[in-house]
């Protein structure tokens, strides 16, 4: 293992909702190195989205330590170390595509000229040239999600947090965006934490897959994905790909991931906790 400092270091992180009635996360230890693409996978309610939000300082852990780029998570947020993409694109209806992408840059008071140049670069990166003056409702779901990705990348955050970004898309769009995401990841050099329900997606995209158990969410195991880079359509066809999928599935089963699902009330707890 290289001696590069970790982008993310989680030590003993736990999270309880509703005055300890629900233990969402327990004893999470995880280190993520620069440039890694780490997927979090697990059954519904295993706390993988919660874990992502803890890393991004959107919610606070009840216990343990979170260090991002050598500082506390709230310091990292103040330093704009995060780019976030949700399952829903969360675009602003009143802003055009280019103004949605430019929103973080406006907030960070980039000079206009510099901002427009950057927006242009990003439009090219996510292949949305020609759509800059469209409004979100004029775009398909896949295109909306690309706008969200471009917006997250706009200010070049060292850490990209993606919470099931392609979960609401059809299979074909999802596979195409998977390929695009890999290309973007290689170009941008960002570190990515990616929450997903799809085993195949996790294996295809990641350098490491973190498998979590049902509530309370614990890390059951970590699968190193040694598939060669850059990956392409043929990656999915090889025997190694199938082996890795079997390995992830085995860990999921071990963590109780294939048992009857518990009701997903994590989101409600998050909403209650934040008073939103």
């Amino acid at each position: 293992m290289s001696e590069q400092p970790n982008v993310v270091r989680l030590q003993n992180v736990s999270k309880e909702f509703g005055q300890g009635h629900v233990r969402a996360l327990q004893d999470i230890d995880l280190e993520i190195r620069p440039g890694e693409f780490v997927s979090l996978i697990g059954p519904s309610g295993c706390g993988k989205s919660t874990l992502l939000r803890i890393v991004g300082d959107l919610i606070q852990p009840t216990g343990g330590e979170v260090v991002v780029n050598g500082k506390s998570a709230d310091r990292a947020r103040a330093d704009r170390d995060y780019g976030i993409v949700f399952q829903d694109a969360v675009l602003f209806d009143w802003r055009t595509v280019e103004k949605n992408i430019g929103l973080p840059l406006e907030i960070m008071r980039w000079e206009r000229r510099k901002r427009l140049d950057r927006i242009n670069e990003l439009l090219e990166l996510v292949e949305l040239k020609g759509f800059e003056t469209h409004h979100p409702w004029q775009l398909s779901g896949g295109m909306q999600q690309r706008v969200a990705i471009a917006r997250a990348l706009a200010f070049g955050p060292p850490l990209l947090l993606m919470d099931e970004p392609f979960g609401a898309l059809d299979e074909m769009t999802r596979e195409r965006l998977n390929l695009e995401l890999l290309r973007i990841w290689e170009q941008s050099g960002s570190t990515v934490i990616f929450v997903t329900h799809s085993i195949a997606e996790a294996v295809f995209l990641s350098t490491r897959v973190v498998v979590m158990s049902a509530r309370p969410g614990r890390i059951v195991g970590v699968v190193d994905v040694d598939l060669p880079q850059p990956r392409g359509i043929e990656t999915r066809e090889g025997p190694r790909f199938a082996e890795l999928i079997r390995e992830v599935r085995r860990l999921l089963r071990q963590g109780g991931g294939f048992q009857a699902e518990e009701p997903e009330d994590e989101e409600q707890f998050i909403a209650a906790e934040e008073g939103l």
Binding site: R77, D79, Y82, W94, I107, F131, H135, L139, S140, L276
Partner: protein, 275 residues
Amino acid sequence: MSTAVVEPIPRGTLGSRVGRNVWDWFPAVVVFVTGIALWEGLVRGLDIQNFLLPPPSDIVRTFWTERETLWNAGWFTFQEAFGGWVIGCAAAIVAALILARWRTLATALMPFAIAANAVPIIAFAPITNNWFGTLNQLSKMMIAAVLCFFPVLVNTLRGLTSVRPQQIELMRSYAAGELQIFRRVRIPNALPFLFTGLKVATVLAMIGAIVGDYFGGSQDALGIQIRRQAGVFAFNEAWAAILVASVLGILFYGAVAAVERLTMRWHPSARGAAE
């Protein structure tokens, strides 16, 4: 991405942006014409007394012959309504911004605001006449303003606070401050709600001004005209004045609705206007 179906951005003349397709209006026009014809036919056929209901042709004739007095009175009362609308809406917007920023204040005050909203505010018209002077247009403006205040406050506050949690999370991830979140998320999000309130308020402002007139005011006021003409059995004149009030009310509402459509062309509902 070549497969995506992309609708064109709505463009077109001012008319087509603000209004609708002519054929969309056709059923409404048919109903209107039939209604007027029925009214005229029934009043004449059944020989209904003029004090009960004059035929529309008589009302329109008086509307024309008395046009100068009527429109002067209409303009006078419209000033009262518009002034009250501006005062009430401005106060409501400021209050909504304050309550959205300091939510504990909102929790403390909103029950009273909702209770006050249920009070028949129009009952205070004689009191405001005393406060600001019966002949002073300001007394009617104040009643109109109070009527406008609550619906605009409640709507705007809902718009400012009904932001999707993830939009706020996103802003927090950019380390945006409270002011930035207001400017770039809450206020744009509140615009559709605000306009709903502003439109309702136009109607309330007209009601407030006219009812304020009923309790006494300048001889130039429309409400006074209606009351006086009805008092001396000049029903054609009273109805013609009511017609003026209606036309002004509709124009007022329409003007605000037009501004809404122009400012919010980004809104998905604006699609309907372009198709």
